[in-house]
Each structure stands twice: as C-alpha cells, then as structure tokens.
Subunit: 204 residues, 2 copies
C-alpha cells in the first residue's frame, strides 16, 4: 500500500476503535491507550495522526457522522417515491439515533459539559453536525422549507428522534418507539404540507 | 429538632448536594466524599442514610423528580383554564427538561450503561419516573387518552422535550427551542382533539 493509503487506513481504524470504546467504556474509559490497543496502532502512530484525546474523539464523531449520512443517502436513493417513502426515511433516521454512533456522541456531549478542552472542540462541531443532519433530513423528506412550519417540523423530528435515542439507552424501547413513530409519520406528512388545516386540502 | 426531623434535613441536604455535584462534576466526579463535603454531613451519617453511591444517586433522582413534579403541579394549579393553558404547561415542562435535574439524571442514565450496579438500581426507577412524568403531563394538559393518538401525542411531547434538553447541554438553544415549541403547541392542541382531521372540526 502507498503511504497515503496506509495513513488513511490507520486513521479509519483509530476512529472506528474510538467509537467502539466510547460505547463500551464511556468517555472516562476511552483513554488514548485503550483506543490505540483496540485499533492495533502504535502510540507513536496515533499521536502522529491525533495529537490529543479531544482531537481523536472529535475526528471520530465528524468522520463517522459523515459516513453514516452518506450511507443513509445511498440507502434512501434506492427507495421508491410514493407514500411509503416518508415512513422508511423516518425508520432509517430512528435507527441512526439508536445506534452506536449516537451513544458515542452523547458520551462526548455530556463529558464536554465538565471538560473545557473537549467542550472547546465540540461546540463548533455540534453546530456543524446539527446542520448536516438537518440538511440530510430535508433532502430525504423532500421538504419545502419555504412553507410555513416545515422547517420547525423537520427540527422537531430530529429533536424527537434524539429524545427517543436517550429513552433507548438503558432498555429496549423499540415497541413504544415504533407505535409513537407510527403516529408521528402521519402527523409529519400533514405538517410537511405546510398548511395549518392539513387534511382539509387532501380529504375534504 | 427531634431526631426524625434532623434525619430528614440531613437526607435532603445530601440529595440536593448530589444533584449539584452531578451537574458540576459529572458522574465520575460525584464521589461519596465530594457529596458529603458539599452537604456538610459526616461520612458516617451519610453511610447511615445511603450505604452506597448507587443508593445515594438514585434516591436523589427519585426525591427531586417527585419534588419537581409537585412544584409543577402547584404552579399549574394557579393557571387559568383556556387557550393559553397548554402553552404555559409546555413552557413549564420545557424548563424542567433544561434544568439541573435533567442534566443530573442524564449523567446517571449514561453512566449506568457501563456500570452494572448503577444500572440495576436505575432501570426500575427509569420506568417509574417515566410513568410519573407521563401521568403529570396527561393531568396538566387535561388529555383524554381514550381518544386515538392522544397517548402517543403526550409521549411524543415528552420525547421531544428530552431531545431539546440534550440539544441545550453545551450551548443555549433557547431561541430555536422557543420557535419550535411555538409550532408544537399548535400541533399538540389539534392532536389532543383526537381527530385525524383536526382543524376541520374547529374551522371548517
């Protein structure tokens, strides 16, 4: 492998291992040494790519969020248009918000409250990840944000999914989540219509 | 003070101090010693009331959640009936989900993922706190859960507020939250109507 490719492979292994460690051991257990061991990378190589623990974990969240967004986009591209599309998109997003990357990000967000270095690294990233998730959702739902209330409906969907992700941390909340999202999908469909009297235009 | 009253005062000081420490130092910094010092209580007295760290922190979350629920109930009892009531109730709940007790609970929830003793203590408590918050919200909103979709709308409100609480952890999200909840209040009002074609009955 050429040098550049080997570097990229090393980085990818370190970033994957970081998320795995955050999920498995939490922030306090995710030391640089533990990550290097898990990734099978020397401490020297790790420090070369990511000089600090904050640099490593923020890179992991950015990199893996972008990769997850790309995967969701690719998956969504295969969905047929039509009434079932919104449901499938919400299911895909819900599975992202209950997956390991969400748990890893939450570990960092919470730790950053009481860790100034981590906080300085995460605050700009939080805004960026938030914008990226919003843009992705608008795109997947084909939402027209010029209509009144549509922007807020997309935001509410993401905030709701974040809340559902937290509710799933300690116990399997999938039955309640599925029922709740079943109702939400129908609400969202009318909200994306952008009319305050949604069903009158469709059914009346 | 009689003995029983002194015990209650000592317990209250320990539980308050626990939440303060969780907010300020996170779970890893909330050791029994730190809490005892903050509360001005001897280690012996602390161990008498709460023999383990898990017992202390779970008692803190239960006690303070119940107290906060009682405060919200008392505040809500003063609200006039009428169209503004729902808005004020949502504002009160939103302020609970962005306050110190939410942050303290989130610290515990996340720590419990990787701490078996804490997890065993929290899982039954999570269900209980969840039921209590649901019941409180139903009561404050005067929601009729026999109507279709109403139960899920109440749940979605709480999940949304939880998500908004997380979004407020590292930066002041109040402007976005206020705008979003403005839309949500109108949606919720129609959802609590329990009709799938909400506005037709009111406006058509």
């Amino acid at each position: 492998m050429p040098q550049q490719e080997r570097s990229r492979a090393t980085q990818a292994r370190l970033l994957e291992a970081t998320v795995e460690c955050l999920v498995e051991f939490g922030w306090s257990g995710t030391t640089s040494t533990v990550v290097a061991t898990r990734a099978g990378v020397s401490r020297g190589a790790q420090l070369h790519h990511y000089p600090t623990r904050a640099a490593l974990v923020t890179a992991a969240v950015v990199h893996l969020t972008e990769r997850r967004a790309a995967e969701i986009r690719a998956e969504a591209a295969l969905l047929p248009a039509g009434p079932g599309r919104l449901d499938r998109v919400i299911d895909m997003l819900a599975s992202a918000f209950t997956g390991p990357l969400f748990v890893a990000a939450l570990e960092l967000w919470l730790a950053a409250r009481t860790d100034a270095e981590l906080r300085d690294a995460l605050v700009p990233l939080e805004a960026r990840v938030g914008r990226e998730m919003h843009r992705l959702t608008v795109e997947l739902l084909d939402a027209d944000e010029r209509k009144p209330g549509v922007r807020e409906s997309v935001q509410a969907t993401l905030d709701l999914l974040r809340g559902l992700g937290v509710a799933n941390l300690l116990s399997d909340d999938s039955a309640r989540r599925t029922a709740l999202l079943g109702i939400w999908k129908r609400q969202l469909a009318t909200m994306l219509d952008g009319s305050d009297t949604p069903n009158t235009t469709v059914e009346a």
